[in-house]
Amino acid sequence: MNILIKNGRVIDPANGVDEKLDILVSEGRIAKLGKPGSITANGAGVVDVDQRLVVPGLIDMHVHLREPGFEYKETIASGAAAAAAGGFTSVCCMPNTNPVNDSRSVAEFILSQARQAPARVYPIGAVTKGSKGEELTEMGELFSAGCVAVSDDGKPVMNAAVMRRALEYSKIFDMLIISHCEDSALAAKGVMNEGIVSTELGLRGIPSAAEDVMTARDIALAELTGGRLHIAHVSTAGSVQMIRDAKARGVKVTAETCPHYFSLTDEAVRGYNTMAKMNPPLRTAADVEAIKQGLRDGTIDVIATDHAPHAADEKAGEFDYAPFGIVGLETALGLALKLVEEGVLPLVELLAKMSARPAAILKLDKGSLSPGFDADITIIDPTVEWMVKSSEFKSKSRNTPFEGWKLKGRAVQTMVAGRH
């Protein structure tokens, strides 16, 4: 079936497009773009988007879908539904499931569960078997099974020699290694950022150096090996600066941050708010400024969510015992659009960080509205004001620190291969 998307403001960062265009979708692919009224419907269904933004389907390269193993928190189906509701047509799921996605069979299981899902799901395999940080996984198997990157996210690869070999070995497949930069000895039993707030609350702190020393190490290893390194969820000013310097030297390193790291500080933990407990932890106002600067100057390539669903019972009770993480798929776009409002990023650049940029890093033929590409399209109403109500989330979990926030702009339609 053909669809004509009419009267939209088409923003396609990959092609430098920002103008009023109509788009013809045919057989699930982008067939043609043209001036408004220049394309005849010829029996195609017409979607009049009435001046809304028509953008490449958003890509979230960092989510946790919890299946297999933790289906009470999220399933591939519910996570993909949350993605679609938030404007994401593609998500990459981290391997910390049970069993860990460290083998072809788990990757294939995830892909088979995703077949009917309302968003595309790309598995990320583990760097080491069982994400134990000891022996490398069979990356060739994972790659051919459909994994788009490898990561031991949530469990840093503490042994530098193992990380070195991973970065070397991954070069066979030119596979991306996504590093959760955290020195677990420095982080120890910390539950929030180390600083005045942790002192006042009497909670064990995680110093920003726990992230910085690992960022420094991994950059050095990327430099040594020539492997492709992507730093996940950057939260500190120190990491931003090191990544900036590394890029200037020509190191193959890319980086992402998450909406919470430019929206909140560790002040959000006061009252022992477990919804503000995540890893890396919320940092200080100075770090938030540095993250924004990193987004502005291109040091940070990507905005990802680190969508980490947890059941309500798990997030209730003692702060120390609550698991790390928050859901993000259904709030990310609204929070990210605030960066445009604040003048941190032009709209086209923001959208690039949520579509074209992650696609390029992951080498996916996605994130663009070029003719021939899959018709993965998100339609955004940039003016609608709405309030975050976790009870309305498509995700199985409700663990958000943004409950009740008033946001402006949201996805009103998400098409995957022309279907919505």
Binding site: T199, E200, L201, G202, R204, Y272, D313, A316, E318, F319
Partner: protein, 309 residues
């Protein structure tokens, strides 16, 4: 005047008037414990639950005596005998206690924030009997009471708090209480045990104990948790005692009237020499005053006012 809150979770944010109200009320209760018949009918018919998720003798007993001397019915639950070992959540346990109509729930917990969490979920008054590294408000109140009783005032005094500040709820509560009442606070310990943000909390930091003690009106010693050695926070007990132990020579640097305090239990010969503990200290006065202060807190949280005490 009455307290503004239904709970006592910490000293942070309390006004000097509220703190003084508790201290003044405690003064009126102190003599109850001196009588032959150590009981007043003030809280007759009220039920007080001591919910202790962490080992404690002194604090639990002090709360129990305080409740009993006010004629409340006091029940003790410790984590080893409660359903915590069966994996029941803190909230479920507390809700069950509330369902049995407890008026005051006293909570000791190794997790910072556990009493605050319960206070939000329960209608009963919640008293924090020490949570993690966060606060131990009744300890600070009894310390303030003791200083005021012995020295006549708190405003303008200099108090040194020495030891593992980072992991001490006693230190935090005392910093808030002392500064709220106008005292100057010096904190002292190895840098591995000094948390960030001390200046913002109003305390001066020194790593040199001689400087901390110099001219001080009171010296509060904190218990050294010996297991911190394996965590690398100090290399050995001998050096720790040399650098941060209170002995007679060091005490001589303090003001002549200086009070030596310790929340207990003491490591004799580590943070405090026996000589100092046994001859110059007000450590047992602190324990005595603890009962009066806790009586005052329970009384005030039950809606009492100072005039009725």
């Amino acid at each position: 005047m009455a307290l503004r809150t239904k709970d006592l979770l910490g000293i942070r944010g309390m006004s000097s008037d509220e703190i003084k109200l508790i201290l003044d009320t405690a003064a009126t209760f102190k003599d109850v414990s001196e009588r032959d018949i150590k009981k007043v009918p003030t809280l007759r018919g009220k039920t007080v639950m001591n919910l202790f998720y962490e080992a404690s003798t002194r604090t639990r007993t002090s709360f129990e005596l305080a409740g009993k001397r006010l004629s409340a019915d006091v029940i003790n639950i410790s984590s080893s005998t409660s359903s915590a070992v069966k994996g029941e959540t803190l909230l479920d346990t507390a809700r069950n206690l509330e369902a049995m109509k407890c008026d005051i729930i006293i909570v000791r917990h190794s997790c910072s924030g556990a009493p605050e969490y319960l206070s939000k979920m329960l209608k009963s008054a919640v008293i924090n009997a020490g949570d993690g590294f966060h606060e131990h408000p009744t300890q600070a109140l009894l310390d303030l009471f003791t200083i005021r009783e012995k020295l006549g005032r708190i405003e303008g005094l200099t108090v040194a708090i020495v030891g593992d500040i980072a992991h001490s709820r006693v230190a935090r509560s005392n910093i808030y209480g002392l500064t709220a009442l106008g005292a100057k606070v010096r904190v002292c310990g190895p840098p591995t045990m000094i948390p960030p943000g001390m200046a913002q909390m109003g305390a001066e930091v020194t790593y040199d104990m001689d400087k901390a003690v110099e001219g001080a009106d009171a010296v509060m010693m904190l218990r050294l948790q010996l297991e911190r050695q394996t965590a690398g926070l100090f290399p050995g007990v001998r050096e720790y005692a040399n650098l941060y132990g209170l002995n007679s020579a060091r005490l001589a640097r303090a003001a002549g009237h200086a009070l030596v305090m310790h929340p207990g239990p003491m490591n004799r010969g580590v943070e405090i020499s026996s000589e100092v503990a046994d001859s110059n200290s007000v450590i047992l006065d602190q324990v005595t005053n603890g009962v009066a202060v806790r009586m005052a807190v329970m009384f005030l949280l039950s809606g009492g006012t100072k005039a009725e005490a």
